[in-house]
């Protein structure tokens, strides 16, 4: 038996209540339960988490390899989505 037979899992940890789970790293495990146990031992030895998600890496769909490609272009030419786009007369408050 080789660890090749053990799928790769991505580990997400919620560090405390009120925060979202964030990616901590990855590990190999034969099933979800072992992945959770291993994630606890590997990524929360110093109380770094109150909740863990494990997700099979193969189940993740990612955007294309180049993180600067046209996939993200539609956001680039819409500065009016940001509050700083708008001119407001001086002295107007709470806006």
């Amino acid at each position: 038996m080789t660890s090749d037979g053990w799928p790769l899992w991505e580990v997400f940890v919620r560090s405390r209540r009120g925060l979202s789970h964030t990616h901590a790293g990855s590990l190999h495990a034969p099933d979800a339960e072992m992945a959770l146990r291993n994630a606890r031992d590997l990524y929360t030895r110093r109380s770094e988490g109150v909740s863990i998600w494990v997700v099979p890496s193969a189940a993740i769909t990612a955007s294309s390899p180049d993180e600067k490609d046209p996939f993200f272009d539609p956001a680039a030419d819409k500065p009016y989505r940001h509050p700083t786009f708008y001119e407001i007369p001086e002295g107007v408050k709470h806006l």
């Binding site: 038996m1 790769l8 899992w9 991505e10 590990l27 034969p30 189940a59 390899p65 180049d66």
Partner: protein
């Protein structure tokens, strides 16, 4: 450690077999364009991520370095684990177990980082077991007394920290992120070692002598951990150009000596170097010549424990085979094999 893409890393930009001159030209132009994007990212101090195009030599250099680093973490468990059952108190025993467990964790962070470059866990372990990939030579020295555990924490982990802190800014994202995690945990390792040595140094005459003996044996090998002098280091220049390394071997070695010398004074122990003294003009400690013959000899496999470390590692892997098989069989039985292998 965004290992999602481990399998596909590097697929972008691979020039296919060019049947015609035109195709070859097009591939060359494409490769040049990729190289320019890569160079610009490194120059701008951006991080390279697993699915980015990267030069094959950059990838190979990272695999070599991260693998060696990962192997060092897990081989490094052996010399210290040697003293777990004989720790002088329950407190020291609990600390040592936690530290050795951390080393296993560090190995796993690093194996994951290496896997994002397109290598597999099995391949890495196989290369360690067959001696095709190295681990740090420091772990080929024996831990003869309890004081060695303290000396390893203070000096070996201290040297490792000096090496690893700049690696947190390494140009390869997954490696840098693994190092951030490792560095956070290493400082406990170093402090527990220092405290253990301090207790011995302040103890009976025999305990003090034991601490001094351990420091005498570990000092020079710790300085060798930074690798050969800059003018003999084959990888340094390129690794620095790629921003994998941020400082040269000699710079880091000097930094470590400057930190360790006053720490030794505070311990009431001496470092085994008659030439060690503060140089006001340079603003650094001067230190004596390192015996590089010993370094190369241990690297070649002739250190006191090379064979023992590797055979114990292989044995542990073989002894664990039934556990891996049982876990896989259990998973198969309860999920029908549908456990994260969706697309595998």
């Amino acid at each position: 450690m965004t290992a999602v893409t481990a399998g596909t890393a590097g697929s972008a930009g691979t020039a296919g077999g060019a049947g015609t001159i035109g195709a070859a030209d097009a591939a060359a132009v494409e490769a040049a364009a990729h190289e320019a994007v890569f160079d610009a990212a490194v120059a701008a101090d951006e991080r390279i991520e697993p699915r980015d195009w990267m030069p094959e030599a950059y990838r190979a250099s990272l695999v070599r370095q991260i693998a060696q680093h990962a192997h060092s973490e897990i081989i490094g468990m052996q010399p210290e684990a040697n003293w777990i059952t004989r720790a002088p108190s329950l407190r020291r025993k609990a600390i040592l177990m936690a530290k050795v467990q951390d080393e296993a964790g560090h190995g796993l962070y690093l194996y994951s980082a290496a896997e994002t470059l397109g290598t597999s866990r099995d391949e890495l372990l196989d290369k360690l077991h067959s001696g095709r990939q190295k681990y740090s030579s420091i772990f080929n020295y024996p831990t003869l007394t309890w004081a060695d555990v303290g000396a390893i924490g203070w000096l070996v982990d201290g040297a490792a920290i000096t090496n690893q802190v700049p690696l947190c800014r390494c140009s390869y994202g997954p490696y840098a992120r693994a190092m951030v995690r490792v560095c956070k945990e290493e400082s406990f390792h170093q402090r527990q070692g220092y405290e253990a040595l301090l207790a011995l140094s302040n103890g009976t005459e025999a305990q003090h002598a034991m601490a001094q003996d351990a420091v005498n044996r570990w000092w020079w090998p710790s300085l060798m951990m930074f690798g050969p002098p800059d003018d003999e280091s084959t990888h340094t220049a390129q690794a620095m150009a790629w921003k994998i390394k941020r400082h040269s071997n000699d710079e880091l070695r000097q930094r470590f000596v400057d930190i360790a010398a006053p720490q030794a004074d505070a311990l009431g122990l001496t470092l085994p170097d008659p030439d060690l003294r503060w140089n006001e003009e340079r603003g650094h400690y001067d230190f004596g010549p390192i015996d590089w013959t010993e370094f190369w000899d241990v690297l070649k496999g002739n250190g006191p424990c090379n064979d023992q470390r590797l055979s114990k590692r292989r044995q542990a892997h073989e002894d664990g085979a039934w556990v891996r098989e049982a876990a896989a069989a259990h998973a198969e039985k309860h999920t029908g094999g549908n456990n994260g292998k969706a697309q595998a």
